[in-house]
């Protein structure tokens, strides 16, 4: 009578407890490993591994950028597992899931009840993947692994605290409505469900073998939802792209894909900002439009983009920053400096050649203007990579006389 598969039996209970213990051990280990990987941003390229695990990001970015990064293999592998074992990743690995579960537990202890909600996650996935086909994945940044990674930028820069907001939002949601994030909202969870769907249908069909075969036919409500989601995604992607055309393009890290696609493909994981050895990447506060909130922008007030460094491009999980070699970086300028002679010390007759001295490419020379009777810094756009060394060196305050400006598409970017 001691059947271990019988849950009510004595040995069955211990077996279940043992498995639960193992699962908890794995989950906590995953969380610790994820934290260690993300904290090693400046020394290693490991942080890329955390958001790269997401099949949602992998598929979304492949569709949007029509490029395949090696790191996407990780996400696709997780996706493959999800097809066979639904939500296996959520139950065993997801670090955000563990945090959300923890908050849900606290919420339930405080008497909070789960809310009834349709599966929003599925809509997020449909919208995103449909719009990704048009190059602008709308809600890719709602990926839990990206949000989890992003929170590690909290102490990085002046605006770093903002990067923890998405994670905080998820935890608050989990407290107020226990388990609702993972089961109803999380696009990564929903995507895994969708991936597992065909096999589950097939299994159901097999179980009902000999019965009515009409149940295995295409499910009309799902089809309607899919069509609706795809259409809405496409429409929103179109709107988002056209609305971004007018706002000025901000300065992006090297290798950034064109705007406005960047806004969609970037998952706001903050890996680039945390990897940057000179701390010049910080999350946007939305100065360049709300769609750009938390996307990486560059500032050269104190330092600049080192010539041989391509770290930010190597820790980007979504392909928003194309992987670059140092040579490739030189041929992909970040921007081009512009000189404001109304601020420049040279126009005052002051002695200053700081920008030229710091330029690593010797792209700045000083030309004498007989009419203005002053030297004027001239930038050789063929040599300049927009690294910002000149801007960082410029001693004028509060406004720098030489400022790197983004190069628009029109300028032959």
């Amino acid at each position: 009578m001691n059947n271990p598969l019988e849950p009510n039996s004595e040995s069955g209970r211990t077996e279940a407890a043992r498995r639960r213990r193992i699962r908890w051990l794995v989950r906590v280990s995953s969380l610790v490993v994820a934290i260690v990987l993300l904290l090693a941003a400046r020394q290693t390229r490991w942080p890329v591994l955390v958001p790269a695990l997401s099949p949602f990001i992998a598929v979304g970015s492949i569709l949007a950028t029509r490029a395949f990064a090696v790191t996407a293999c990780l996400g696709l592998a997780v996706g493959l597992i999800a097809m066979l074992r639904p939500r296996c990743f959520c139950r065993w690995v997801c670090p955000l899931g563990l945090c959300a579960d923890g908050m849900s537990y606290v919420g339930r202890r405080c008497g909070r009840k789960p809310a009834k909600l349709p599966s929003i996650g599925r809509w997020i996935v449909l919208l995103t993947l449909a719009s990704a086909c048009l190059g602008y994945p709308l809600l890719l940044c709602l990926d839990p692994l990206a949000m989890f990674s992003g929170a590690f930028g909290i102490a990085e820069s002046r605006t770093g605290w903002l990067t923890a907001l998405p994670l905080l939002l998820v935890l608050t949601t989990s407290f107020v409505w226990p388990h609702i994030w993972c089961s109803r909202i999380c696009p990564l969870g929903a995507f895994q469900d969708m991936l597992a769907y065909p096999l589950r249908r097939a299994r159901q069909a097999r179980n009902q073998a000999g019965g009515n075969r009409s149940s295995s036919r295409w499910n009309p409500p799902l089809a309607r939802r899919t069509v609706l989601g795809v259409a809405a995604g496409a429409a929103l992607a179109g709107i988002a792209r056209s609305s971004q055309g007018s706002t000025p393009r901000p300065l992006r890290p090297p290798g950034a894909i064109d705007e406005p696609e960047f806004l969609g493909v970037c998952v706001r994981c903050g890996n680039c900002a945390r990897a940057c050895p000179t701390h010049i990447i910080e999350p946007s506060l939305g100065r360049h439009g709300p769609a750009g909130l938390l996307t990486p922008i560059l500032h050269f007030e104190e330092s600049y983009c080192l010539v041989d460094c391509t770290k930010c491009t190597q820790v980007c999980p979504s392909g928003a920053l194309v992987r670059l070699s140092p040579d490739g970086k030189a041929s992909r300028p970040i921007g081009l400096p512009q000189v404001d002679m109304s601020v420049c010390l040279l126009a005052e007759g002051r002695e200053c050649t700081e920008c030229g001295r710091w330029c690593p490419h010797a792209a700045i020379r000083y030309a004498w203007s007989e009419t203005e009777y002053t030297l004027i810094p001239e930038i050789d756009s063929r040599k300049c990579t927009g690294c910002g060394a000149c801007e960082a060196a410029c001693p004028t305050k509060p406004n720098k006389a030489i400022v790197v400006r983004p190069i628009g598409k029109a300028a032959g970017y």
């Binding site: 005052e348 007759g349 700081e354 009777y373 060196a393």
Partner: protein, 455 residues
């Protein structure tokens, strides 16, 4: 006398034994003033023709070419260390060498000390600090600043981490005091024009003055001419570079600007920066990049800049509220920045600044304008020519790459290289060795004793 002795050496021997003794020129420099002849009753007397001038041989024309006949030069003076150029590097070099125990002679082409610092009105002490505000220019340069602190109206903005501005006249006065106290022999109004060289070794300097062409013999020559005139004449390797040539001026009555009248209108440009004299600003002018050794160019620069400065002040005076602003003076010296740069045993490169290279033979630490960089070390090898012996470079012409030239030419960094060259020259004299063979540990020890900062 050695029968293999060549003509030049023979002449020098003659000069040493006969002429100097005969003319009574071996004494103190002051003794080269000429005695006056019989009084004529006016405040002017006929002076006996200077015997030096008697030795002059006019140039002549042979086959359509102007020829300077070969002639013997009188030896005005002999010394351990001869510093050519009395600018910020030369003055410090002379004082440092004298304090280190050598007999020192300083020749300067103008009538005052300080060179471009005072005569060029580059009165801003910029480049003595590094990122974070630490002052790296110590030693005799800092001693000068402390002396200026004690003088009334000599220096402003003497605070840690800030670039002070000095009064040129106060600095000239202060340097006269220091040179006299140190016991340096001085010849002003002397333009060093040629090196005296035997077998790649410098033995002294020929210079031109109102007293004609004369020679000073020295064991070690410090070339603090800024243009590297001496090491170039001696045959050392160098780089001839163009740079901006400008002219500094001072404008006055800035404390009498009518603010009400000026209102919110944009301020005129080029009002310059404050000096210790109330209401007087100094105004820099960068100027075009030209060859600072070409006399036609220098002439053109002087005239162009003069016109611009005058007209610019007139424009300022036409601005409402600024009518009383006036041009106090233009600098007596044209602002030549970089001309010749020595090819030394070592060379300070911009990469050394960025990587904060440590040199085992460090003899000074440079700062930066605007304190935008960290400390950068100056190796002794940057002062020593590759081929020629017994001459050391000091000041803006030491061995640096073009990226560093703009830092090395700043006044405090000239103090630092001057200090290093002066001490090294004195140590070489004491140890009776070539400057390239000098014991660097001894040089560093003496520099530290003289409170120089070596990192």
């Amino acid at each position: 006398m050695d029968k293999h002795m060549n003509r030049r050496e023979c002449l020098r021997a003659l000069g040493l034994s006969g002429l100097t003794a005969g003319l009574g020129l071996t004494g103190a420099p002051a003794s080269h003033a000429q005695g006056v002849g019989e009084s004529s009753g006016f405040q002017s007397s006929v002076i006996d023709a200077h015997k030096v001038q008697d030795m002059r041989t006019a140039a002549t024309i042979v086959d359509g070419k102007v020829i300077q006949p070969q002639r013997e030069l009188p030896i005005l003076h002999q010394t351990d260390v001869l510093v050519v150029g009395g600018g910020s590097a030369g003055v410090v070099a002379a004082i440092a060498a004298r304090r280190a125990g050598a007999s020192v002679t300083l020749v300067e082409r103008y009538g005052h000390f300080g060179g471009l610092w005072t005569g060029g009105l580059v009165v801003l002490i910029i480049g003595h600090i590094v990122k974070g505000g630490k002052q790296v220019c110590q030693g005799i340069g800092e001693e000068m600043m402390r002396r200026l602190d004690k003088l009334d109206g000599a220096i402003i903005d003497r605070r840690p981490g800030v670039s002070p501005t000095v009064d040129a006249e106060a600095a000239k006065y202060m340097m006269v005091e220091m040179i006299e106290e140190a016991g340096v022999d001085v010849f002003l109004h002397c333009w060093g024009v040629d090196a005296i060289v035997t077998e790649n070794t410098v033995r002294g300097v020929v210079f031109e003055s109102k007293s004609g062409r004369q020679a000073i013999l020295a064991k070690i020559v410090v070339d603090a001419t800024g243009d590297g005139d001496l090491f170039a004449a001696a045959g050392a390797e160098f780089e001839h570079r163009s740079h901006n040539v400008g002219l500094v001026s001072r404008i006055g009555n800035l404390d009498r600007i009518d603010a009400e009248k000026a209102g919110q209108a944009p301020k005129p440009r080029r009002l310059g920066s404050a000096t210790p004299v109330p209401g007087v600003n100094w105004v820099n002018l960068t100027g075009p990049e030209v060859d600072g050794l070409d006399i036609a160019t220098l002439t053109q620069m002087e005239m162009n800049h003069r016109k611009f400065i005058w007209n610019n002040v007139q424009r300022t005076r036409q601005t409402p509220g600024y009518e009383k602003v006036y041009l106090v003076e233009t600098a007596p010296q044209l602002g030549v920045r970089i001309t010749r740069i020595l090819n030394g045993l070592n060379r300070v490169r911009l990469s050394d600044l960025r990587e904060a290279t440590k040199f085992p033979d460090v003899v000074g630490v440079g700062g930066s304008s605007g304190a935008t960089h960290g400390e950068w070390q100056i190796p002794y090898g940057a002062l020593v020519p590759t081929k020629v012996d017994n001459v050391l470079a000091a000041g803006r012409c030491i061995s640096v790459d073009m990226g560093m030239a703009d830092l090395v030419r700043l006044v405090p960094n000239c103090f630092v290289t001057g200090h290093a060259a002066g001490v090294a020259a004195a140590v070489a004299v004491r140890d009776n060795c070539r400057p390239r063979d000098v014991d660097i540990a001894k040089v560093q020890k003496v520099l530290r004793q003289q409170e120089a900062y070596l990192g």
